[in-house]
């Protein structure tokens, strides 16, 4: 049973349960000033916390679900930290002993000062689970006057370990537009290092491997075409209703119409951002128009948003992915 909002849950049947909490992602920063531009780092991904426990009928669990960092829009604004998700219990000894915490991803930061670097938001940390995985950090961004730079959002933690970090946007040459890729649960988004580059995203099974080559699926042999076709034809958001956090098959984001579980989304210098697959981070966006950066999805951090045009007020960084709690009866 999924809990997208905080609740008290009374156990109906005595048995073994798998409890999962995902912390919310932080939102990326916003730097939308006039032609001198700015840099905005990405938000961090939320932590992942999982525990298998024997519960007794009438145990009561208190489930707190963290909220994602809100989108920000301004000539210069830091993002917003996500919220922590937690599980505590009352009743049996096993329930009382529950003390699970999946920490939030932290906010991205902005700067409009030449040569100044802003680190991405840190990923959340988890405690109290059999598995405690840290979220990926947001991508850093360094500003050069007359350029716009945005780091990608970090992915949430997962059963496979620490989430991939968002790609950074740190220019080694002349000022320009740079957008780091979002992190996937399998690895990091691409770091961009030159003007007018948008980095690819991490996938569920690996990091981005080149500027335009995103990370692969965790499912061996599933190429981009096969995966997209499978998803479109089956219209699945979750790839498995059973143990869904282990069936993360997404490649780096393809399209907002195709959910990519565990995959991040690429950075963009030509269009609005798109939402990442669940647990994935979204890419940075530096498109010079009134558009919105992509949002994280279930625990993913959102990318930064920067421009060299005055579009503040009508343009937003992405929202950090919300937290979530999942309770499965497994025996």
């Amino acid at each position: 049973m999924w809990f997208p909002s905080s609740a008290s849950f009374t156990v109906t049947y005595t048995g073994k349960y798998r409890l999962t909490a995902v912390g919310a992602g932080g939102s990326g920063a916003s730097a939308q000033v006039l032609t001198t531009g700015g840099a905005a780092s990405g938000g961090g991904g939320g932590a992942f916390c999982e525990k298998e426990v024997d519960l007794v009928a009438a145990d009561v669990l208190t489930l707190v679900v963290g909220a994602g960092g809100t989108a920000v829009s301004s000539a210069g604004a830091d993002g917003v930290d996500g919220g922590e998700s937690s599980i505590h219990g009352a009743g049996s000894a096993a329930a009382v002993a529950l003390n699970m915490h999946a920490g939030p991803g932290l906010k991205g930061l902005y700067t409009v000062t030449n040569a100044q670097n802003k680190a991405g938001g840190a990923g959340g940390t988890a405690t109290g689970g059999d598995l405690n995985s840290t979220g990926g950090a947001g991508g850093a961004a360094t500003h050069l006057t007359n350029g716009a730079e945005a780091g990608g959002g970090g992915a949430a933690g997962s059963p496979y370990g620490t989430g991939g970090a968002g790609g950074s946007a740190i220019n080694g040459g002349a000022a320009g537009l740079l957008a780091g890729g979002g992190g996937g649960v399998g690895g990091k988004g691409w770091d961009v290092t030159a003007a007018n580059e948008a980095g690819s995203a991490g996938g569920s099974g690996g990091a981005a491997t080149a500027l335009s080559t995103g990370g692969v699926s965790r499912i061996p042999g599933i190429g981009a075409t096969g995966w997209a076709s499978y998803k479109v034809n089956n219209a699945l958001v979750l790839s498995s209703p059973i143990d869904p956090f282990r069936f993360l098959d997404g490649i780096a984001g393809v399209s907002p119409a195709i959910p990519a579980p565990g995959g991040g989304n690429a950075g963009s210098i030509t269009a609005a951002g798109v939402k990442a697959g669940y647990l994935g981070g979204s890419g940075g966006v530096v498109f010079a128009a009134a558009v919105v950066a992509g949002s994280g999805s279930l625990g993913g951090g959102s990318g930064g948003r920067a421009t060299i045009a005055d579009v503040s007020g009508s343009s937003l960084s992405g929202v950090g992915g919300p937290g979530v709690i999942l309770i499965e009866r497994i025996g």
Partner: protein, 78 residues
Amino acid sequence: MIYEILDDKGDVVNRIIAEQAFVDEKYPGMYRDVTPAPELAAPVELAIDPLKAINDKLDQVIADISKMQTDVSKIAVK
């Protein structure tokens, strides 16, 4: 709804998704609602003269009357 949970000093200690009944029960008096307001569409200024349609209609009626008067005078001459 999104709520910020506060400590004794009023500092934010968490940011959660919940219904008000939940925060009332678990954090009485120690929260604030920070749900973003829905974005309203920007007002659009249209170049509409509210009297234009009436004036156009009046012009048409006057033109019709003038034409009828002309036709009547032609009939009278015959």
